[in-house]
């Protein structure tokens, strides 16, 4: 049997260390990972690479995660890509805003990697 095509994750995170850690975790779980370090790069790569799921940080340079989320979710072509927000912004107001912008899930930092993986699995299963 040929290799099933690996699922593609777009990982948007401006902190290099964090990016490396999450990427390692995702790749170990059999996903292919494309990184992006700012809002604009995130949008661009979402459009060109067509990932199966996006992991999105909020505090990003050039364009914040909420905007990126909204722009993708309001675009017919990309609204079906599940978006998991992973952010140090833990206020209720932030979580609600995430939901308003169309995020499919909101995970606060620091997080347990099992939680992230579980959420990703659930969203991909749909």
């Amino acid at each position: 049997m040929s290799d099933k095509k690996k699922l593609l994750m777009l990982l948007v995170e401006d902190e290099e260390d964090m990016l490396k850690a999450i990427r390692l975790r995702l790749e170990a779980n059999g996903y292919e990972v494309i990184p992006a370090c700012d809002g604009q790069e995130a949008l661009m790569k979402a459009r060109t690479e067509k990932p199966d799921l996006i992991i999105l940080d909020i505090m990003l340079p050039k364009m914040d995660g909420f905007k990126v989320c909204r722009m993708l979710k309001f675009d017919e072509k990309y609204q079906n890509i599940p978006i998991v927000v992973v952010s140090a912004k833990t206020q209720k107001a932030d979580i609600e805003r995430g939901k308003e912008m169309g995020a499919d899930a909101y995970i606060t930092k620091p997080f347990k990697s099992e939680e992230l993986l579980k959420t990703i699995n659930e969203l991909l299963a749909k």
């Binding site: 140090a88 912004k89 209720k92 620091p110 990697s113």
Partner: protein, 451 residues
């Protein structure tokens, strides 16, 4: 500078108002005068000169009224001068009145003092000069009147004098000195009096300005603090996340095999990271609670249901120590509160009850509906209790009383819980006996009308 302009505008408006008030009073006096003249004409002959006085006042008052209605833009000095001009005309009218009521023997010279008082009050620090201006004109007009009457430039009204010319002169002289001196003495008194009043007013205004400035500064500082707290929150959480993730990656074998010893160590590291994260969250919360900037989302909630959830959540922990948990509350008690925060309080109290209970203990959670007074909730245990010495301190920050037990908390739980209850307008307290157990009680208002 803008402040000064504003003050000036307020001043000008105030003086304008007084100007208007004076106009209305004059109209009233004119009407009164007319009534008296008409009345007098029924009794005796119509005194033309009385009518003349009334008309004089009417005319210049009318001019004043026209100027007022014309809505001319006045500068501060403009309106002060205007007001003074008409006050001087009032002094003239008073002089006229004194003339026709017996000049030398007229009882109405006190009206000059009334004018001095009126001019002295209500023009704030500018009143100083006007008192003396009015006093001056009062003296000048009065003495002028006496002089003119004596020199028969104008016909003398009033009682026929049986005094000799010389006696009359002396009488006039005395009167002139007496009134002039009184005017100026009076003016000086009013001047100092109003200056005293003004000083107080100005001091108060100054203090007010300082207070407002200090308040603005405090607000700024507070805002800076909030910004710092929320930034610190992010700044601390980010490296914490990286550390946690990296440890997890190693421990889960993603970077190569690990020995069981290594895994144990990493496990301890992870627990400590969790602990750090908890302390961080608690610190941020307590900071928000203390600055009252924690956002409460009050909604009608069933507090029984919240307590029930807390119990359910902690039941496994309780059972692991073989603790019995008993609940005492009705199905549905509605209050206005932030459900998440109240849940935290219950969880905190229950966690403490479990933590500080020995095996085979008994924990009770109760809610009592006190109607108008609100609801009273308690969590009691049969644990190690708190000594009377320590009891007053338990709600303080970073206070923990048993150093032996393994503890993940930072000692902020009770502090936060009490803060939450107090932000809801309630009260929290505890009773305890060392060795027997403790009971933590809090009362919450129902919240419908009170705020």
């Amino acid at each position: 500078m803008a402040d000064q302009d504003f003050d000036q505008q307020a001043l000008i408006a105030d003086i304008k108002e007084k100007f208007y008030w004076a106009i209305m009073v004059r109209y009233a006096l004119v009407v009164l005068g007319l009534v008296l003249v008409v009345f007098g004409s029924f009794l005796g002959s119509l005194q033309n000169i009385n009518l003349l006085l009334v008309l004089f006042v009417l005319v210049y008052n009318f001019v004043a009224h026209l100027i007022y209605v014309a809505k001319v833009k006045f500068s501060l000095w403009g309106i002060i001068v205007l007001r003074s001009v008409f006050q001087i005309l009032d002094v003239l009218a008073i002089t006229f009145l004194i003339y026709i009521t017996g000049w030398l023997e007229s009882p109405y010279w006190f009206l000059y003092l009334v004018m001095i008082i009126i001019s002295g009050f209500g023009m704030y620090s500018y009143s100083s000069i006007s008192v003396f201006v009015i006093a001056f004109f009062s003296a000048v007009f009065y003495m002028g009147l006496l002089g003119c009457a004596y020199l028969r430039i104008i016909p003398m009204y009033g009682p026929n004098f049986t005094l000799t010319s010389q006696q009359l002169l002396i009488s006039i002289y005395n009167k002139a000195i007496f009134t002039t001196v009184s005017f100026f003495l009076f003016a000086t008194t009013i001047y100092y009096f109003s200056k005293l009043l003004n000083q107080n007013r100005e001091q108060l205004a100054e203090k007010n300005k300082n207070l407002l400035a200090a308040l603005e500064e405090l607000k700024d500082t507070d805002r800076l603090k909030d910004e710092f707290v929320s930034n610190a929150s992010h700044e601390l959480r980010t490296p914490l996340s990286v550390i946690r993730e990296n440890i997890a990656l190693i421990k889960d074998g993603l970077l190569g095999q690990t020995t069981s010893e290594q895994r144990d160590l990493l496990q301890t590291t992870q627990s400590n990271i969790d602990r750090l994260a908890n302390i961080l969250n608690s610190l941020l919360d307590i900071s928000k609670i203390e600055s009252r900037s924690l956002e409460l989302r009050r909604q009608p909630v069933n507090i029984s249901e919240i307590a029930h959830r807390a119990v359910e959540f902690l039941l496994p922990k309780a059972y692991s120590k073989n603790l019995e948990v008993e609940t005492h509350f009705g199905e549905k008690i509605m209050i206005l509160a932030d459900a998440d925060q109240i849940l935290r309080v219950f969880i905190n109290l229950l966690t403490n009850a479990i933590k500080y209970s020995n095996e085979n203990g008994h924990i009770m959670v109760g809610i009592e509906d006190l109607g108008e007074k609100g609801v009273e909730c308690f969590v009691s245990d049969t644990g190690i209790g708190i000594s009377q010495n320590d009891l007053p301190k338990i709600f303080e920050r970073f206070v923990r009383f048993d150093k032996q037990k393994e503890n993940k908390g930072a000692g902020l739980g009770l502090s936060i819980s009490r803060g939450i209850i107090e932000m809801h307008g309630g009260k929290m307290w505890a009773v305890s006996k060392l060795g027997e157990g403790s009971r933590f009680i809090f009362r919450l208002p129902k919240g419908a009308e009170n705020e």
